[in-house]
């Protein structure tokens, strides 16, 4: 807008530019405030109910008062009652999630670098395959994988039932595509000139990768690690199928199998307490790393 052709004086311009604080403005603000409150309530309310249910007396599991009366922490030690093996299940979850994350990161960084940076003929097909992998219904892969790992096929005579390998390797089927896809998105965001500048300065491509690209991609790698870790931690179907004995349950499988002393009774209080215990570390992690996680989740979606 050139000043020469403008019919508006400076004073009028200033008046126009002053934000109008009329009723529309305050309505908008209130609306936004209500909206924010709605969002927070929407997200937290069911979780609040889970916490409240875990703080009731063990025998009042299905009570519906909005605040427990009396407040009781009895459910929390009950979670670790040896009969449920929850402590061991947590350890299993950590081992499986961590190992899967490390393996997928290792393979994923290499593959993502190639997909983001290099030019080669079958790139479209490879990307399509990787995306396609996340489209398979878990149930299609589950039974053949189960048969493969329990020696039902003569060409694969191993029986890894109830071992860590049997939990980790099938988890790669969804963890690896997820990891590669996220990392590819992150690597694409790095300027192309970086390696070229490094190579101009005398680095070999390998050195350029290790010394320049990796450190800069570290936040993205870290975020992908968190997202993959959480995805494997929450996975249910594979863990349910491959870990059938109690000492090989992961945390989510263990929760789904909580039982009381008679086999029929459902200890709602303990189940909710276990749910809280499993979720709270994830939430704390999410609170600390929220910016990274949001960046990671959206990097895949925004090109």
């Amino acid at each position: 807008m050139t000043a020469a052709t403008s019919h508006v004086t400076a004073a009028e311009l200033a008046a126009l530019n002053k934000p109008r604080r009329d009723w529309r403005f305050w309505l908008g603000k209130t609306g936004i405030f209500l909206g924010m409150t709605f969002i927070i309530l929407y997200c937290i309310a069911p979780f609040y109910w889970m916490v409240v249910s875990s703080l009731r007396l063990p025998t009042m599991g299905r009570d519906t008062s909005f605040w427990p009366n009396p407040v009781s922490f009895e459910n929390y030690p009950a979670v670790f009652d040896p009969i449920n093996g929850f402590g061991r299940a947590l350890v299993n979850s950590v081992i499986v999630s961590l190992s899967t994350t490390l393996v997928t990161l290792l393979f994923g960084i290499l593959a993502a670098y190639a997909l983001a940076r290099l030019r080669f003929r079958f790139k479209g097909i490879v990307l399509a395959i990787i995306i396609g992998c996340s489209m398979f219904p878990g149930i299609t892969l589950l039974i053949p994988l189960f048969k493969m790992f329990t020696g039902a096929y003569p060409w694969m005579p191993i029986n890894w039932m109830n071992t860590y390998q049997a939990l980790i390797i099938p988890s790669l089927s969804f963890g690896l595509p997820l990891c590669v896809w996220n990392l590819t998105a992150f690597f694409r965001q790095l300027p192309v000139e970086l390696e070229q500048a490094a190579m101009v300065d005398g680095c070999t491509p390998g050195q350029a990768f290790r010394k320049v690209i990796l450190p800069l991609a570290a936040p993205g790698v870290f975020t992908t690690a968190i997202i993959t870790f959480i995805a494997v931690w929450n996975e249910f179907m594979i863990a349910l199928t491959f870990g059938t004995q109690q000492n090989m349950y992961t945390a989510v499988v263990a929760i789904s199998k909580f039982t009381g002393a008679y086999g029929f009774d459902t200890p709602w209080g303990t189940i909710m307490a276990a749910g809280v215990l499993v979720t709270v570390p994830l939430i704390i992690g999410v609170l600390i790393f929220q910016r990274r996680i949001v960046a990671g989740l959206t990097a895949g979606g925004v090109k």
């Binding site: 007396l57 025998t59 009042m60 299905r62 009969i83 329990t150 020696g151 039902a152 059938t244 004995q245 109690q246 199998k257 039982t259 009381g260 002393a261 008679y262 086999g263 029929f264 009774d265 459902t266």
Partner: protein
């Protein structure tokens, strides 16, 4: 897409489909072969360590039991393998071993309704009658452990349904526990007007195995049956339909609370303990929990147990419980045989009753005076089990129970009339039991 490219793609597709079909045709057996689990040709003298697999030991009773055996048999140790607490998962685990012909579980605790399936698939070792006598055991339990006239497992623990009733309210009204459905309705008519917000009766009516138990009881107590003794379905008889009609009418008239259609054992127990229903049909485990004096039960000391009522007389309970069987592929079957005999003997059955509230399989124990003093429900339970009837014995029990649940739940939700529901069920059962 160019012509060449299309042709190539089509060829690739055809080739891969062809590859799949070729591998399919060339592989595993397409002719049925018999399975080998006959009683003969088995080495019953082989001894050594074995494993025992069952669902989660929720009562914590097996550690002590196994220690006793292991101390007495240092060379024939038994290791406990605890499976999931869920019946479906236990069955799936045992089936996996069976299909892999693995003897990983030497001895297994098999639910009474799976025994026929496991036996027919050749996963259980047939037990010759001369080596494995069944005197003194409950007849219905032994029948549940047999298939095609042969014994495939020993009964391990039994279970039957009990009618829990509010003795305080019935005594105040001068009534005795009902033995027929009409008596129960009359008792409710007399007592309920004085109690606000109380319903008459509940069982377990959610769509799961418990529903099969409840509807089997209704049908059998009305004089009908699901399957006749020769294995033919007979569920569309007037008596069977009468049983289902009683349940459906119960919902319609309000005798059974509306929300009971979502209740399993726990929810119905909770309702009884909170004083919301006058009569409850449930398993024996409720007795101890409802007697707790820590404030969780409002009915502690105010209730009694009786056999469940029927249409014209006492009702027929469903037979629950487990059988203990030997895997057809197990090693050391000699030890396994001795182990299951030991489990079925009186001393161990007493331990299971006292420490795990598991109903014993020996008839004599139900008349024992000391045990009856300890367990107030014992003689009633014995009566219940003696007259109990097993659920339909079928190799494809999973499908049978699914069909029964479908028909019953549809009738309870008012989607079908009882007659239509059971006519449809008759057709399905005929198809499944061909």
């Amino acid at each position: 897409m160019t012509h060449a490219r299309t042709t190539r793609r089509v060829l690739a597709a055809v080739a891969s489909v062809g590859a799949v079909l070729i591998t399919a045709a060339c592989s595993s057996s397409s002719t049925p072969t018999g399975s080998a689990a006959a009683g003969g040709g088995v080495n019953w003298d082989e001894r050594g360590p074995i494993t025992y697999a069952q669902g989660k030991d929720t009562a914590g009773v097996w550690a002590g039991v196994l220690k006793e055996w292991n101390d007495a048999h240092p060379n024939e140790q038994v290791t406990l393998i605890e499976l999931s607490p869920e019946a479906d998962q236990q069955r799936a685990d045992m089936i996996k071993r069976g299909q892999a012909k693995s003897g990983e579980f030497s001895v297994m605790s098999v639910d009474v309704v799976w025994t026929a399936e496991f036996a027919a698939n050749g996963w259980l070792q047939e037990l010759p009658k001369d080596k494995f006598p069944t005197d003194g055991m409950l007849a219905s339990a032994v029948d549940a452990a047999s298939y095609f006239g042969k014994l495939y497992a020993y009964p391990q623990s039994s279970d039957g349904a009990l009618l829990y009733y509010r003795s305080d309210l019935l005594d105040k009204a001068g009534l005795k526990p009902p033995t027929t459905w009409d008596e129960m309705q009359a008792a409710c008519d007399k007592v309920l007007p004085t109690q606000k917000g109380m319903s008459c009766y509940s069982g377990q009516f959610q769509k799961y195995e418990g529903l099969t138990c409840n509807v089997a009881e209704a049908v059998n107590s009305a004089g009908g049956e699901f399957i006749t003794a020769d294995g033919k379905p007979a569920v569309n008889s007037a008596e069977a339909v009468a049983g289902l009609t009683w349940m459906v009418d119960g919902f319609k008239s309000g005798m059974i609370p509306k929300e009971a259609i979502t209740w399993k054992e726990e929810e119905s127990r909770q309702a009884f303990q909170d004083g919301k229903i006058l009569f409850l049909r449930n398993w024996p485990y409720v007795y101890n929990l409802a007697s707790k004096t820590d404030g969780s039960s409002k009915v502690a000391g105010k209730f009694g147990v009786a056999p469940i009522p029927g249409k014209t007389g006492p009702g027929v309970s469903t037979l629950g419980g487990h059988n203990i069987g030997i895997s057809a592929f197990a090693k050391n079957k000699g030890t396994a045989g001795d182990f299951i005999k030991w489990i079925a003997s009186e001393a161990q059955q007493k331990t299971f009753l006292q420490k795990g509230s598991l109903a014993p399989i020996l008839e004599s124990m139900y008349a024992d005076a000391d045990l009856n003093k300890q367990f107030g429900y014992l003689s009633t339970l014995g009566e219940s089990i003696k007259n109990a009837q097993a659920r339909p014995k079928a190799v494809r029990y999973g499908d049978v129970t699914s069909a029964i649940q479908d028909a019953t739940y549809a009738a309870l939700q008012g989607q079908q009339t009882p007659t239509d529901a059971f006519n449809g069920l008759q057709t399905k059962l005929e198809d499944l039991l061909k």
